[in-house]
Symmetry: C2
Subunit: 733 residues, 2 copies
């Protein structure tokens, strides 16, 4: 029990440092009056968006909480779930609020600090990003430890082993709150940011011929708001969900795997939390290591960021051995390798993403070269590259699955899927997800850094700062683009591993659901019976016939794959429609408000912000509802087997599709930048115009539909988990 | 046994009518000298391509046949397999050869007949398409009946039930020959056709500003050759594979499902063959029903085609009841509904495809409208539409799976997955695939009609026929575009159902493989043992732990999903590279050969044909090898469970991805045509240019990568099936 208290302590420390970094940032000057005004516009836009989103989210939360309360009333869920659900959502929303507040205060301060020196700018931007990272891990661990203490106090069960199972499966459902919040943040934020971006580009760059971030473009503030909304709040909520999901499902799987070993069970539950807690301390250490010399190149800037991340990762890898040894795992060595497999997988996926999307490498340069034959070949080669790029993350995840499973069962290949080994192996896969996310405090800082640097650049441009300053913010921004790409890869990879962990722990929820409903005995096909409380996962798989020859499973796999594509289609079209509205508004302003182009009049920024906000809120409803309803319907029609098929199909197709979309989008973006740097005819050439088309197509790919799939993968599992009782009680087939 | 002889009879009748239609077409005049010359160019190009391809294919067949011989020597396969493999490939190749020969003879004759009347043109084109349809079904049934008679004579087994299992599982492996041939025909043909098309368009339409099919464009003959290579030979080989695969896997599943019921077992094996045989007669009837009045609109032309297809379909549906009743199935009614479920699914998927790709409906018009804001929004909305369009086919296939399974087991929902019901239900799913393909004789005729009409139009354009004639060929061509779209949907749907049937019969091959290796007993997890010969599919699933919690299955699902994307990426890039070569050649000819643009000199068509041929042959190797090697590797590493995961993942993601690509591509094509008809600014407007970009991107989508996925889905299953013995004998994990 002693070690457990590390978790709330880490949480408090994370929040204290977040506050400290926030305060230090706030001490910086915001610069000139113009800079302040622009920053205020962006801040107000972002906050007005957030306010609007939280209104919608609150309504959805009330409806769902009532639904869960009704389910609890009928014994289909336990009484804690509605409350757990609400706190999960509340803390995730709070993290988004703090993160975005910080980011929007930081952009002008970063631009101003850059006037002093590059290093100062990097410090301001990165430490502001760290606020987001630390708030996310801090609030997540706070929620986890609070619920553990509450449930440990209130849940009554004569059998300590069973009590822990009850606690962890209940806690897992608070992930549903985080998932719902993430859904709206990622999907709504994604639609918002790209509607503004595409709209701004189409009229501004293409029709009016004015550069990016030009203050004469009415949509430019909305575009900057979008960076915060999508890349700070959206990304944060996404990873908050993965973080909670991986820790909680590992805990649930640990409670199940060690149920026959009461002395270890509690430690198996604590292990993921404690690894995460130690990760917090090491992330904070890493943040302090990020600094650079003056006049650093992008590569040197990158090195300094990497130093922070890598030192944290190496230290957590080392610490894991100690943690698992001290917790008394007999196979502490094997489980440590499971954790490290996840940690390494995150890094490899990030590197792979960089290879396929950075214009320092062949693939993206090939896309740029294809621009010489026009936009069509840019699209074809970008998609070809994106499709092929899925190999690296998939093979990495497959290796991570196999290695983390095998080392958790001490490479007992002969009995790989025996009852005992299956639950230990799945615990190994889940804890690999925790490993990947253990350094989230600092990896998320590098992600959130990107939009801050981007906004700082925008602010510098709009307030007409000196070219030297602009050059420095460009350097910071270029770095941000790279971290954004690797960050996306990391987010997808962690979603996939978390999704797997959730898939595994789904069966645990089904067990609890059956027990709650009084189904105490499984009748297996051969006539044997097994007590539900003691049934192994193998027994459950046999009982529910979750095999690949079961048509319900096959139907589920097809539907799951389809969901990934449908979700992409709906979000893509949403961006198209919302961007269309933005285009019309910008055209109207250019037409009706005299003097915008000469700079005499300020455009009506607020109106564009309002259009993006409204568009995002309206457009996100259908995909969001589908993501919640389809798993429920699948369960009601096809039962547990169908749900598992749905989750597996959605995970397989969704993961690969997400990688494809993120990497194609990233590569198009950088192919354009490559030409803008003067290659193949440079800015303004036909080739450049062709890559602008690619970049515009890539916008919803990489920032809306692709990242939304991370959410879909996890949310469908979460919905299945909270509905497990209902599915166990009733299905048509 | 008496009914069986319907199968060879149907086969001979099909071939006789094919010959009859061919002879009648050859009696038509080829028109003017110019028309003859152009037709000869196309014919020679197509044949030189085919010759080159068959060289490569022969080499691959020799290597694989040797490999299978070695496997047979070591007892990992039986001795018949190398020969069965070769005939499967040979007959498929022969069908492609006849079909393409006919198509290339028919195009000028169609153009010339159109000069007489529209109806004459339709007759010539459609009946030439019917040659392909009838040759495919005729040769497939010939191969099937010959092998059945040979094996029935030579296979020795005391137990009649076991003998039939041996025969059917052996016959199934000849599908591997058809698959390998289809791989090269579809992938090679797909790359060929789009390299030529994209190359011709990029330089001709975009740079030189000359219309499609202009004889001054050096790539125009290659483009017309490509239509034959891709849409006739490629489509034919694809459906030949589905046709054989569905019949043979149904036979294998029938032999297994009825092994305890010797009096019915043979009839269960014959049932799919006899349904196919009756389908042949009804298809021929349908072909004769296709005729139209003069000056028919496209809609009326469509109606006359539909009349032929629908009458065949309705009659086969009715006949099925009789066939299954006469064969003595106690559940003849239920199984008939399984067949009809498949038949209906094919029609619904075709209709859905038409809705999403025809510019008579909202989705494609929406894409056209988005062209007003440039090419980027065309791409975004086209992809969005394509993503969303996956809903119809997936839901249809899911319903077909569930309905055909349930009605095969008389809606015994309570024991849906019991040992007996599982094998009956899977037989129901397989026979649904046979139902979908039962009218292939005529549906393939409508597919092959498309490129013939297209080439006729090309011929009319190049030989400068009167505008009135051009208008009529345009009407025939427009009809061809619609049948091409529905045909594509049908090909994908049948690939998915066939893939499912193959997945189910894979386990049957594993059983035979184990028996051959002397593994006579399965030791189940609970310590029970079951004889392999008598083990149910449920026992096998339990033994190999093919559940969704098995990490090997999960790894397989990820890898299968990835394979679909990787395959698409490789084929997309192949088109990009090969098109690039074509662009360079066309530019060179424009530059170096004086007088092309004024029409004084003929361009060097042959050189462009050679470039496309060479490009296709080179580029298809890597994706083809991967499609064969990955299932083998997965089996060697992850065993039976991993292979099934791979197949299920590949099937789920591959099917959805194929639909997405085909529908996006089709919709872009028709959005362009919609604008060309005078909407939104018409030809030459900015909006039109934007849709040309969409169309060019759509070319490899709908004609290369998308259709190639049909092959991948089936080929991976086929490889798994022939390697089942090896996988059963050895796997790393």
């Amino acid at each position: 029990m002693n070690y457990f208290y590390l978790v709330p302590v880490a949480s408090i420390v994370a929040l204290i440092f977040a506050y400290y970094f926030f305060k230090r940032m706030m001490k910086e000057s915001e610069g000139t009056e113009k800079m302040k005004t622009i920053a205020r516009h962006v801040r107000e836009g972002a906050m007005s968006y957030l306010k609007q989103q939280y209104k919608v989210v609150t309504a959805v939360f009330i409806v769902l909480a009532l639904l869960f309360a009704v389910m609890a009333f009928f014994g289909l869920q336990n009484n804690w779930v509605p409350f757990a659900f609400l706190t999960g959502g509340f803390f995730s929303g709070l993290a988004g609020f703090f993160g975005m507040k910080t980011a929007t205060y930081a952009s002008a301060r970063t631009a101003n600090a850059v006037r002093r020196s590059l290093n100062s700018g990097l410090q301001v931007a990165f430490r502001s990003g760290a606020v987001m990272g630390l708030v996310v891990v801090g609030l997540a661990l706070l929620d986890i430890s609070a619920w553990y203490l509450i449930l440990d106090h209130f849940v009554e069960d004569a059998d300590a082993g069973h009590k822990l199972v009850m606690i962890t499966t209940t806690m897992l459902t608070f992930g549903m709150g985080a998932s719902t919040q993430a859904l709206f943040a990622r999907v709504g934020g994604g639609i918002y940011t790209k509607a503004a971006d595409v709209g701004a580009d189409l009229v501004g760059k293409v029709e009016a011929g004015i550069p990016e971030d030009d203050p004469r473009n009415p949509a430019t503030i909305a575009d900057n708001v979008g960076d915060n909304v999508g890349d700070v709040a959206g990304m944060g909520a996404d990873l908050y969900e993965s973080y909670c999901g991986s820790i909680l499902s590992t805990a649930a799987l640990g409670a199940s795997a060690f149920i026959m070993n009461p002395s270890m069970q509690k430690n198996a539950v604590f292990a993921p939390m404690i690894i995460a807690a130690i990760g917090v301390f090491l992330s904070i250490l890493g943040v302090f290591l990020v600094r650079t010399k003056e006049n650093a190149s992008v590569k040197q800037l990158m090195d300094s960021l990497n130093r922070g991340v890598n030192v944290s990762a190496i230290l957590i890898a080392g610490a894991t051995f100690g943690i698992l040894y001290l917790l008394g795992f007999t196979n502490w060595l094997g489980l440590s390798f499971s954790v490290i497999a996840g940690l390494l997988a995150g890094i490899i996926i990030g590197q792979g993403t960089e290879y396929f999307t950075s214009h320092s490498y062949k693939p993206t340069r090939g896309i740029a070269a294809s621009a010489q034959t026009g936009p069509a070949t840019v699209i074809i080669s970008g998609m070809g590259t994106g499709f092929i790029s899925t190999v690296v993350p998939v093979v990495t995840i497959v290796l991570a699955i196999v290695i983390s499973y095998l080392s958790a069962i001490r490479f007992d290949v002969q009995n790989m899927i025996s009852a005992g080994n299956l639950s230990m192996g799945l615990y190994g896969i889940a804890i690999a997800a925790v490993g990947m996310l253990s350094t989230l405090g600092i990896t998320l800082a590098t992600d959130a850094y990107g939009p801050i640097a981007d906004n700082a650049g925008g602010n510098a441009e709009m307030s007409g700062l000196e070219p030297e300053v602009r050059k420095r913010t460009d350097a910071l921004d270029a770095l941000g683009n790279t971290t954004a790409a690797t960050g996306k890869g990391f987010a997808i990879g962690s979603a996939a591993l978390t999704g797997l962990a959730l898939l595994a722990s789904y069966m645990e929820e089904v067990r609890i659901g059956m027990l709650r409903l009084g189904d105490d005995v499984l009748e297996l096909a051969d006539g044997d019976t097994v007590e539900v409380a003691k049934a192994s996962f193998v027994d459950f798989m046999n009982y529910f016939q979750v095999t690949l020859m079961n048509p319900k499973v096959l139907a589920g796999i097809f539907l799951g794959s389809m969901m990934a594509f449908l979700f992409c289609g709906l979000t893509m079209n949403a961006v198209g429609r919302a961007a269309q509205k933005m285009v019309e508004e910008v055209r109207r302003q250019f037409r009706e408000i005299k003097g915008i182009m000469t700079g005499e009049t300020t455009p009506d920024y607020a109106r564009c912000v309002a259009i993006s906000t409204k568009g995002a809120q309206r457009e996100m409803l259908l995909p969001s509802l589908l993501a919640i309803i389809i798993p429920i319907l699948t369960g009601l029609i096809f039962g547990v087997a169908g749900v598992m098929g749905l989750l597996a199909g959605g995970l397989g197709a969704g993961f690969v599709l997400a990688v494809f979309m993120a990497n194609s989008g990233g590569a198009w973006d950088n192919a354009k930048k490559y030409i803008e740097e003067g290659h193949l005819g440079g800015k303004g050439s036909e080739a450049h115009k062709a890559t602008v088309v690619g970049d515009t197509v890539g916008d919803p790919f990489k920032d809306t539909s692709g990242p939304s799939l991370n959410i879909l993968i996890k949310l469908m599992s979460m919905v299945a988990i909270v509905m497990a009782g209902l599915t166990a009680a009733w299905s048509l087939l």
